[in-house]
């Protein structure tokens, strides 16, 4: 009896893991066929790949050209983070179950955020370059929308997981929605939110490096030009600079976040 009881779940579990493996194998098979993935090319390509890196010995005479697009990259990331956060904050409270006005506006806000989040950063950039023309402006708009999606998702998860006690207390004494949010929710989530905003700034710096590939301003414009003109030594210098800047900003952000929470 007892042996049967323990045997059956075990058999079921085994069947389930074999089933998972089978589904996985079929998916991979289909993936190979659909993408015509070329494993041998991987190895022949690897040689080319490393040769490519060999030619990228950085030539730092290109540095003076790099500064102004680099500055623009950081400006795009900063402005997008600020504007994105300002727009995201009211959306967060609309989209969280415990601070929403009513189910309909909550649903609308959530759907909007899901759609915003499902569009990749480069696609936003390409879209706004087509609408607004080349330059930093489409980059700022694209990254702003992108940040709203990321920040609101993280934020509303935080708001929904707060201690409901202060909320109930303020409602019990007759506070309206705005006062409840300001005095019961904000003090609980402020530090976490600032840390999320720093994190979004990190993401935006990385994204604003590449959006220039589709013409949305910043250092990516230079990156693409060097690649197109086969200027590999300039490319090497550029990549070293990007690496250092991203590292610096990440380091600052990680340090600031560790002090916050």
């Amino acid at each position: 009896m007892s042996s049967q009881d323990s045997a059956r779940p075990q058999a079921a579990r085994r069947l389930k893991s074999w089933g998972t493996l089978a589904v996985f194998a079929v998916l991979i098979l289909f993936a190979f066929r659909a993408t015509k993935f070329n494993l041998p090319a991987l190895f022949t390509g690897a040689a080319d790949f490393f040769r490519f890196f060999g030619r990228m010995a950085p030539d730092f005479t290109a540095l003076p050209q790099i500064w102004s697009p680099l500055l623009q990259t950081i400006q795009i990331a900063y402005v997008a983070t600020v504007v994105g956060s300002l727009i995201a904050i009211p959306l967060i409270f609309l989209a969280s179950a415990n601070t929403a006005i009513d189910p309909i506006s909550m649903w609308v806000a959530r759907t909007l955020l899901t759609v915003l989040r499902s569009i990749p950063d480069l696609l936003w950039a390409a879209l706004f370059v087509a609408v607004l023309g080349l330059g930093a402006l489409p980059g700022v708009v694209a990254l702003t929308l992108f940040s709203i999606g990321v920040l609101a998702k993280l934020g509303s998860e935080t708001v929904e997981s707060i201690d409901p006690g202060p909320l109930e207390a303020l409602r019990a004494v007759g506070a309206g929605r705005n006062r409840t949010i300001v005095f019961a929710v904000v003090p609980q989530v402020a530090a976490t939110m600032v840390s999320f905003i720093l994190y979004v700034f990190e993401i935006n710096v990385r994204a604003s490096v590449v959006i220039g590939f589709v013409g949305a301003g910043g250092i990516g414009v230079l990156l693409q030009r060097y690649l197109n003109f086969f200027d590999y030594t300039g490319l090497g210098a550029l990549i070293v600079v990007i690496f250092l800047v991203v590292l610096l900003i990440d380091g600052f952000s990680v340090w600031a976040r560790s002090r916050l929470i």
Binding site: K36, V79, S118, G133
Partner: protein
């Protein structure tokens, strides 16, 4: 009675010095951030309002009109290239996970017997994470020719950076008990690894791989813009020729596909951990 309520209380003590200092620091910080913001806006040479408005008039209206009535004749093309994109993301993620697995053990301090032995591994992972994925894609397009293979390689290499880091974080957080138990029972290094480390880390590894897959699906959708396969190429062509009705069809396919895959993937992740 009413009068006493209305007179402002005078015996509230002043805030302690530390609170006042923090408050003034906060105000200075906020002012600094606002100043930086204004400075950035002024020096960024943004176009004039009239240019923005005319651009919006010419392009945003056709785009919005297209979103309401997308061009259905390109649905099949959009769908097929999105399916290819999906499979690219799968292979890229698997490639990344396979390569990240050994890397993560070289970046986990607790298995190497000291944090400093893990530093080289950690440094490599940071370098990989910082290298822009789209540059990798361009390099692989040059090395392996245009097509999904280049995109898969780029995603695979780039994913090592993220996956290697989270894998090694998971490994550093494991419970030492089972390892000691197996060593005490006479197991060797391989035994402890197989029966004490792997079972503990597998569910979290799987969950992180799925999360990376969600990110890679978004990347795969745009890598085609530099010729690395998937839906990006047909989409950017239509964007360049401003065929807004067709662009809208592509965007709808991408958005719906990603939302559905995200929902399934996060459902599985919730059950894993």
């Amino acid at each position: 009675m009413v009068k006493t309520l209305q007179t402002p209380p005078t015996d509230i003590p002043r805030a302690p010095a530390s609170v006042r200092r923090n408050r003034s620091l906060l105000i200075i910080g906020a002012a600094l951030l606002v100043a930086l913001f204004v400075l950035a806006l002024v020096t960024m040479n943004l176009p004039t309002w009239s240019r923005v408005l005319s651009g919006l008039q010419r392009n945003a209206m056709p785009l919005l009109r297209g979103l309401v009535r997308p061009e259905t004749s390109v649905f099949e093309l959009a769908w097929n290239s999105m399916v290819t994109t999906f499979f690219m993301a799968i292979l890229g993620t698997i490639l990344g996970a396979v390569l990240a697995f050994p890397m993560s053990f070289l970046a986990a301090g607790n298995l190497l017997g000291g944090t400093r032995w893990a530093l080289p591994g950690k440094a490599v992972l940071v370098a990989v994470r910082t290298f822009p994925e789209i540059v990798l894609a361009v390099i692989f397009v040059a090395a392996a020719g245009p097509g999904p293979t280049a995109g898969i390689m780029a995603m695979g290499i780039h994913s090592i950076g993220y996956l290697g880091k989270v894998f090694s974080d998971v490994i550093e957080g494991i419970d030492q008990g089972p390892m000691e138990a197996i060593r005490a029972a006479g197991g060797n290094q391989l035994h402890t690894f197989l029966f004490a480390v792997v079972p503990q880390v597998l569910p979290e590894f799987a969950s992180n791989v799925l999360y990376r897959f969600e990110i890679n699906l978004r990347s795969a959708a745009v890598l085609g813009m530099v010729g690395a396969g998937g839906i990006g190429l047909p989409l950017i062509q239509r964007l360049q020729f401003r065929r807004w009705a067709e662009v809208s069809m592509f965007i709808i396919v991408i958005v719906v596909f990603i939302i559905v895959v995200d929902a399934i993937s996060s459902n599985i992740r919730r059950r894993l951990v």
